[in-house]
């Protein structure tokens, strides 16, 4: 199976903190492990997954690492567990992602630059999942609230992902793993993942039960897939891939002209961009590119193409009735 990202279709990147969160997704999407120096990384043609480890710095690092070599036509979704005064097992889409104020207590020189704004992920379609404010904390919190969930990666994930992608392409989904009825530190003797975590604040050791976490994520795979598919579909239709298409068409066209005229044309970056724009104008107007041109160089080609399209106007004809907002 070819696991290289497909440039033509929207690629989905999942970021999880724990291997236990990743395992059901890896199995569901039949992802193959790739060797990397830094993070556990899995991939298929249209889906990638990186396991970042615990904490927002780890999340930001792994997200940047993954998005650095994935195509720009990509969505990024942080999947993970969180604590909240909501039923264990329920799945929420983040409406707001902010940092807990206590995150900055340890910084000697005040707030970290740029790390104080909140993120407001918004879907390009009508979402079906309930929404919840996500607060990223440095140390686990068990003062559960119903209008908010606590977790440890979402802010770092968003901070990094938004350097690469537009707001609409970056989202977080959280499965409630602990609440007042089943608080975080119980049961303490479960099978451990890579995830024993010692709180700096309370010196308390919190333990994550790998099988329980995997089961929680596994139970929500249908909703997660539905969400990611709808998001990818909206992005597929509206993130313009015309540049890629135009690049390919331009390369083929230039190659044909060079071969038929037995010449080699040189294109500066600026001239290349001008040619791309001209070509996309031809494509937009549905006008065929002139054949059998005999340019001496790239500037000649530019002039000939401009002449070929000068004064050309589209025609408009009525297709069907349009919607009305008549009350």
């Amino acid at each position: 199976m070819d696991t290289r990202p497909n440039k033509r279709t929207i690629h989905t990147l999942f970021v999880t903190a724990l291997q236990a969160e990743a395992t059901p997704l890896v199995a569901h999407y039949r992802l193959k492990a790739l060797r990397t120096r830094a993070f556990r990384f899995y991939q298929s043609a249209n889906v990638s997954l990186v396991v970042c480890g615990i904490g927002e710095t780890a999340a930001a690092s792994a997200t940047s690492f993954a998005l650095g070599f994935l195509p720009a036509h990509c969505t990024a979704i942080n999947i993970g567990i969180a604590g909240s005064d909501n039923p264990v097992g329920s799945l929420f889409q983040a409406s707001t992602i902010c940092r807990d104020n206590t995150c900055d207590e340890k910084t000697a020189h005040g707030p970290r630059p740029g790390m104080h704004r909140s993120f407001y992920p918004h879907l390009p379609f009508k979402g079906e999942l309930p929404t919840l404010r996500v607060t990223t904390v440095v140390n686990p919190r068990i003062d559960y609230m119903s209008d908010c969930c606590f977790e440890m990666e979402a802010y770092g994930f968003c901070f990094a992902a938004r350097q690469f992608l537009a707001a609409e392409q970056v989202h977080c989904l959280k499965v409630i793993s602990d609440n007042p009825g089943a608080p975080l530190d119980s049961p303490p003797d479960s099978k451990l993942d890579n995830s024993e975590y010692q709180s700096n604040q309370s010196n308390q050791t919190f333990r994550f039960d790998a099988a329980t976490i995997s089961n929680l994520i596994h139970a929500q795979l249908g909703n997660i897939e539905n969400f990611s598919t709808q998001l990818a579909s909206a992005c597929q239709k509206n993130l313009s891939t015309t540049t890629d298409d135009t690049e390919s068409a331009l390369a083929a066209y230039i190659s044909q002209i060079e071969n038929s005229n037995d010449i080699q044309m040189h294109f500066s970056e600026s001239r290349h961009q001008q040619l791309l724009r001209l070509l996309s104008r031809y494509l937009a107007l549905g006008k065929e590119l002139p054949q059998n041109l005999n340019p001496g160089n790239s500037k000649d080609l530019l002039n000939l193409l401009e002449t070929g399209i000068a004064g050309y106007l589209p025609g408009y004809t009525s297709k069907n009735a349009t919607p009305s907002d008549t009350n």
Binding site: P124, T131, L285, T322
Partner: protein, 351 residues
Amino acid sequence: MIDSVYVERAIHQSPLTQEILSRARADTVVEIERYGEVFNPKAQNFRLQKLNPALIIAEKHGKFVLPTPSGYGIGSENNYYFSHMMNCIYDCRYCFLQGMYQSANYVLFANYDAFFEEIIRVSKIHDNEPVWFFSGYDCDSLALEPVTHFMAHCLDFFSHNDNKHSGNKPEAPGNACLEVRTKSTQIRNLLKRQPLSNCVIAYSLSPQPIVESIEHKTPSLEKRIDAMKKLQQHGWPIGLRFDPLIAAENFEELYSDMFDQVFDTLDMSRVHSISLGTFRLPKPFFKKVIKLYPEEPMFAVDMEQTDGGTAATAKQAMVGYPPALEQSMMDYCSNRILSVIDKKRFFPCNT
């Protein structure tokens, strides 16, 4: 229609905000500090966001009323515009808003009275000269009226001459006039109230094939004409705005059909004013828009800087059709228009 609303904390509990929220009936309401947190971040995709825009309810601080660009007006020397909203529920491909804003979300400024107080202040500067205030510059004036009820408040405010209303609400000075620019057919409330002689309901019109191809999600030309006819019969002054004219291979056929349809349906002797202008955009907006929609035929035709390179800065440069094409479009339409109305009511736009 709107599934998410962001609301500034400072006005979340105000009665007006609560009314708007109850009418919006959104699934998700998220409290924010300032609207810029959601609206202004750079990494946003206007085209994707346009699929499902959120409503942001905010408080405006200053710059409630601004002078219009020179050359924009319908006969008065004193022209101002105001925008109670930023962005529009429609998706017209030529719209400058998609080049101007990072976000396609709608921002509604829910301190309506502050706009009215500023209109009073500006009107008083010009004493007894007429002052025109244009609504619908950064949004459509009526399209989101079922949620905002802004225009209902605004028309109450402007109803000083015709219908004295009671209470201690602010009233517009006698020299203040209003243009309500729209493509919307949300006219039920306009038909329920007495028309105001100092308020013009101005419709932006394009030939139906252009409506279908470029003015996405808008009412058809026929629906708009029908709405105008009802408003005119009810007594409202009507304005016709043929702006922007779109260049086409079959330009004369398209616009001739539209003029026939409009002129045959409306009582042209009672039309308040007609304005006309060709497609043009500030150069930075044009660059952004063709990146968003490289496949759009209307942007693929010849365009050039229309100020002849005289713009002081790159941001002020305007892009439009070549002068000869622009002139021929303007000439054709001007001749048709001047065959049905006198010059005093015709305002070709030269901004």
